[in-house]
Symmetry: D2
Subunit: 476 residues, 4 copies
């Protein structure tokens, strides 16, 4: 199903790695399948059998790309895999990860979740010294930095490379030296370690562990490198310590609710976001309905806290495909009806609270509100279980430009008018952190809130500020 | 998503027709898309532009089959379409409907939802007189009967043909004489009429109308034929009246909850099924969870009636594909984990009521119960919002043989043991009809309950009883 | 390679059948491969293993359609296959033979080489009695006639059917009763019998026998039916005897030169056609070159008889595909240069005799002459090893309409001017038969020459004459 | 058609480039189509429109890869293209040329015909300094050498790179600076310059010029670099002059007979090779037949010189595909019969001279001789229009190992016995050069004859001799 037709921020990638299991390729396939929600554009797997590296890539969904035939070719007991949403780089096979190269130390496969802010600067510099780039992915500079390092061990070269790049990165490497996992010093993107009867796994989210019967061990820490080989799991913390800045939006929308992310269960946080939302403003209404499926936990929390009955006023079509040919004679709310249908028998004559996790451009919310009203709702109160999104993300989330973010230039009242709701309110930042930490303080201790606040935890150079348009846009 | 990996009865088909709209092909595509839940194996559309008939067919999902290119070829302002689950006939393109033939009166396209019980008898008879069959679908005999009729008008020939066949059929025909819809005298399968600004539509369920902004007019009545052409909508009731036997399982599972079927909203009935279920047996528990998505309305009803909090203990993967390569080293509950994951943080230590709509073989229920228990549930109480399924359907539902229906040969207690639940109960037939009619009587007035009761409303001949194995199986 | 871009008449089909060999499917595939020159649009194979019939069809070349996978599915020790060029019927899979149907006597597969002249009349008649046609191929009426026959044995039903149809047909049937081959009473199209260590084969041409090590036994005679089953080969001659009218164009162009057709070697006849051509008109020239490859034997014969040296002035590209994107800025002689290139070093300053087998529209000949002249030839003398084609074929050859046949309305001198040759001459009909019979008489004893003479050996009814446009066209 | 099933040496590549024509992409497609005989595995085209580079690649035949759709994307008035046979590197898309990279000076596309003998040495060296290789093609080192050069202009960097590599290379580069063509100092592989009404072209053989109406201007000289841009054609000769060593096998087999290669017409040389062959040994026979199609010109020359009549005893199937499923019950001469059939009517009872261009392993010759004898030939005299092949090629021809070359370890008499011919003789080296230079001297002035003589004109280092196995193999 293509969330991208919807008005959502998009996580760009999922990564998965495994070492020491005789069915490494198959399990990576299953891991990527469980992480499909983090990227539906393309996927790839590289395996290693002690002698040879095997690679299969394709565009589309995991279950469509990896036929039995292709899985059979992925021999070996170590593997890494990647789902891609698409951020930098075009949609050609060269831009599908894993990246795999031959370099001085042998063969190296890499997958990357995140985004580098100084990639183009580094790329220009390395090209001046004779480097040749094959893809347009920013991730490729990491590979080049590793190849150019003069260190003898791969791990040392990775440290060299990471000290040159700035940005968000959770990385997995597959090489003759085993499986290596890296989380950037800010820990922006998640990465967790699991254990199987045979072997170890690394994945973006724990839902991948559940599917393959792996046991969650712990999160890789911000700034930590783990190397897994036949001797066990080794941990390194070579980087200067900084204050973590984990992506809070993983809780708001990206991660699967059954995952444990940044060492907390996502479903519970999401439900508490709904509860906090209810507490922040009383409302008189007949029913609470979610925008399915992402709004379900918050709506349940909202209903519980507000004592307004929960119901299913919007039915989701489970067969949503990529493209839809819209008739020339336009159909009301077409874009949203392809995915959702309003149940008149539930909504007719009611005062309805609609709970959603976020508003990006506002276009879909507007269609949903109109569709609910067309189904007879008397009042429509939109409640958003996160603060307004005002700034783009440079750390691996596909956000539209600042201009397109409706909340960057419009007040809540203006947005309410635009989406034609009777009332609209967002969760406060304090409310969000009360839910995240399950405490009353509402203080942010180690999360990145750049999209809600415009405060970017990883410092930009002057040049980057200009390049990224941060300067002008911030003017007044 | 492939429900077939799950333990569900399967509706075999969706049908859709439209007359008098300049984008008939496009709207049929959208109608079939909205009806995708009734058949995911194959789809086809035939259109007519006053001169030529156009046909496009394929296997797979509607959104994958009909590219912009193929839709562009489907010219004309009248069309019929079909989604197929697969009952009789192999999965080759010849068995994908619409059937389209040339015969004495010109060209004729037909789609069929249902199943004929005397098809093979009629087929043998017609072959003896020189008829040639191209497909292995029972629907093809209807076409042959029409071709062999000596009546002058197509509608008369259709009456001739329907008087020869016995079984369940909702039919649509597209011909030079317009669009014709037929519902068998028992009205087993649904068929409803809608109206657009331009033209009329016929569809299995009203959710197809919602997507294309068509207005629901009424159900086609059991035994009614409607002919739609440039002069309007004409109704015929040529058949001897019998007591209707509409499929009650449309309410239990098949239809989309946002549809109006047999003139009632499905979601409401489904929620009331859950309420009745709660009323029929008190239970002490901490949470009520549905088996998503089909169990959601009944679970909400159950929670409301029982005052036990509703929660989402099973998370559904939205990217379920057709085939999955299971690792050789078997994974616990693999078949069900591909689609569902249990949220430990919600279930751990809890007494859990799990609400599902039906149990067919029991295999999936068993896996779900085990998965919930592995996630820490203290007690698991399975509640089924319909009576036990004890007999196969011969009217268009893909049921396993009687032997495979766990309830045909096992008591509720035996099934409980098999699925390893702490308790199990089903809704009573009376409870079901209390929910359906929203009344206290619990009387069945015009529904087929063969799968729950073994009482088949359409009489079998002696030969058919033997052929269908009804005789032996009923023995002891 | 697509001869169809060239100015040639096209044979429409090849047929092949085998009985009693454990690898019937594989050998049919090879037989069709050897007969590829008789049809490149589509191919199909049906096999029978004593219980089940298996069928595989596709569009394109034999070697592309039948993967190892598909061949493996074609089990059994009896098979029939078909290559199609396309005459009647559109290019959809329903129009790809073998036709396979279920009828009163069981299952029946059929392949047809030829064309029926009363097919549409019979079709209308049968539709009036309730028959349903699935394809637009005239061959389908034969199947319907068989299904409607009241005879008990298949062979008798085939006789019944053949007595109703008129036209050209070599047929193969595969059924529970074995393999049956039929050649129409006029014997228009070829069909020959071969023997293997195990089993028997039937094919359009003997080149199919050579590839699979089958031994040529004899031609099936005009009006003969052979039935091959486990008891042996049985021959029937149930039809009223008529004077044979075998297609002489098989010798001129269609058949492969290494085949034995109508009991004579094609290569030898083709070379003698060139010799007779040389004898019919002396010419002073420096070299004789063929239009490759079909003109090679006649050119060698011409060179031998005229004592003018033979050379290869036109080089053929062996990788000709279906479609070519011609640049917008037109290229001289593009259509012909895609396939042939003139060798300046051979042609420059020479008086060149160009030998080709036939001229249909004249367009290609014109391009070839111009290309040869552009390569420096001083004189160009075109010699055609058959008489002018003046009339369309109604017996299975894809001829353009009479208007497009350049020789139907233009004198030889007019054609010469059009193709810009210095001289042009055709072989006389007498010369053609001197070559065919290798005798001096020049008399036609049992060949159809309708395309050269307009004398159609199979009588038309008045209605057919009007339908086929024979009446009007013959007017002045 | 797949020559590779046959016993032939294989040219590995064709290259084509164009500058200054508005349909550069289309014409490159046509050029590659005309050069298809030089490589059938894969093809690619890169175009440049002054702003952007466009790239399309695929495996298979040119006419199958480049659909109208893909050609439309190849915008611009400059282009390079490549057909690949496959020598070094696996058959994945990364190994399909053109290579296209981003480097310090911008974007660079390159195609290469030939083979480098020090590629793996250079590769190791560059990897040690941090270079990353994407393909397994030796051609990629040239790109890296260019990227690492510190020169300012691309042409200077190309000179730098060429001074580091040793081996055979005809190269084309497409960049912002225009189209650049390079021929190595020995001129091993061909490259010629043509002129169109608009723009210039560079191609491996002139047959590509004929198809697109380009006029042959001259060969690029050994050691010459030409740069073509909007200002015209500029020539550079920066390398130390060495004695040329052009590949004589281009005349024997690789090039198309209608091409001008190394400034001579191939067909004429090939015919003279047959004449010399006839002169070197008289033979009494009834007919001379070629092994089609490559043996045709030499057979015609042989017939002319020997006065023995030429005929077509072997008929070629024009629809040879890639793979053939051989029946389990083996068929005599299957491998060769897939492509050729012997005409009994021509061969029966005859003393036959069979002319072929070369023998590599001898396996196909053996099958052909046996097939001809099975067709009734009384005597079979095999005549080869080139000397015995005794040594592998390291300059871009796909030769088997020395062990597989039948003539490297067997006398002519031993080979005769193996192929079961009544006599066998090869053309002498002197005879070959008499034919090439059309003079009586028989002296080799500027050709590489390594495959016939073992004399490699480009000196090897000691390490290379060991690597390439030259040392051991030369032992006895």
């Amino acid at each position: 199903m293509d969330e991208s037709v919807f008005d959502k921020l998009q996580e760009e990638c999922a990564i998965f790695g495994i070492y020491g299991h005789p069915e490494a390729g198959n399990l990576t396939y299953l891991g990527l399948y469980a992480l499909q929600h983090r990227g539906q554009e393309a996927s790839g797997i590289v395996t290693y059998d002690g002698n040879t590296f095997y690679q299969e890539k394709g565009t589309g969904l995991v279950a469509d790309i990896f036929s039995e035939d292709r899985l059979r070719k992925l021999k070996g007991n170590a593997a890494i895999g990647h789902n891609r949403y698409s951020t930098t780089g075009d949609n050609c096979l060269e831009n599908v990860q894993p990246l795999m190269v031959n370099y001085a130390l042998g063969t190296l496969g890499m997958v990357h979740n995140g985004n580098l802010i100084n990639a183009s600067f580094l790329r220009d510099e390395m090209e001046a010294y004779g480097a040749i780039f094959q893809s347009s992915m920013d991730s490729e500079v990491i590979i080049h930095l590793i190849a150019h390092s003069r260190q003898e061990r791969l791990v040392q070269r990775i440290v060299d490379a990471c000290e040159r790049v700035r940005g968000a990165y959770s990385l997995l490497f597959l090489s003759e030296e085993g499986l290596i996992g890296v989380r950037d010093p800010y820990g922006v993107r998640p990465l967790c370690l699991g254990k199987m009867k045979e072997g170890y796994v690394l994945a973006s989210e724990t839902c991948a562990f559940d599917l393959i019967d792996a046991e969650y061990v712990r999160d890789i820490e911000p700034g930590e490198i783990v190397q897994i080989n036949e001797k066990g799991v080794f941990s390194f913390k070579p980087f200067t310590k900084v204050s973590p800045a984990q992506c809070v939006f993983e809780y708001v929308y990206f991660s699967r609710p059954d995952s444990r992310v940044f060492d907390r269960n996502v479903y519970h946080i999401r439900k508490r976001l709904g509860m906090e939302l209810a507490r922040e403003g009383e409302i008189k209404a007949d029913i609470v309905i979610p925008v399915p499926d992402s709004g379900v936990p918050a709506a349940l929390g909202f209903a519980e806290a507000s004592k307004i009955p929960y119901d299913t006023g919007l039915i989701r079509n489970h067969y949503v495909g990529r493209t839809f040919i819209e008739p020339q004679q336009s159909i009301r709310h077409f874009g949203v009806k392809i995915k959702l249908n309003a149940v008149r028998e539930i909504l007719d004559g009611k005062r309805v609270v609609v709970v959603d996790d976020s508003i990006v451009r506002g276009t879909t919310s507007r269609k949903i509100v109109k569709m609910i009203r067309a189904a007879g709702a008397k009042e429509i109160h939109v409640r958003i279980s996160s603060p307004p999104i005002i700034s783009p993300c440079f750390y691996g989330i596909d956000t539209p430009t600042r201009q397109e973010l409706v909340a960057s230039s419009h007040s809540v009242e203006e947005i309410r008018k635009y989406i034609t709701a009777d009332s609209l309110s967002y969760l406060s930042t304090e409310g969000m952190f009360r839910a995240v930490y399950n405490s009353d303080s509402g203080e942010n201790r180690h999360f990145c809130t750049a999209c809600f606040s415009g405060n970017y935890p990883i410092p930009f150079t002057g040049e980057e500020i200009i390049q990224l348009g941060l300067f002008e846009e911030r003017e007044p």
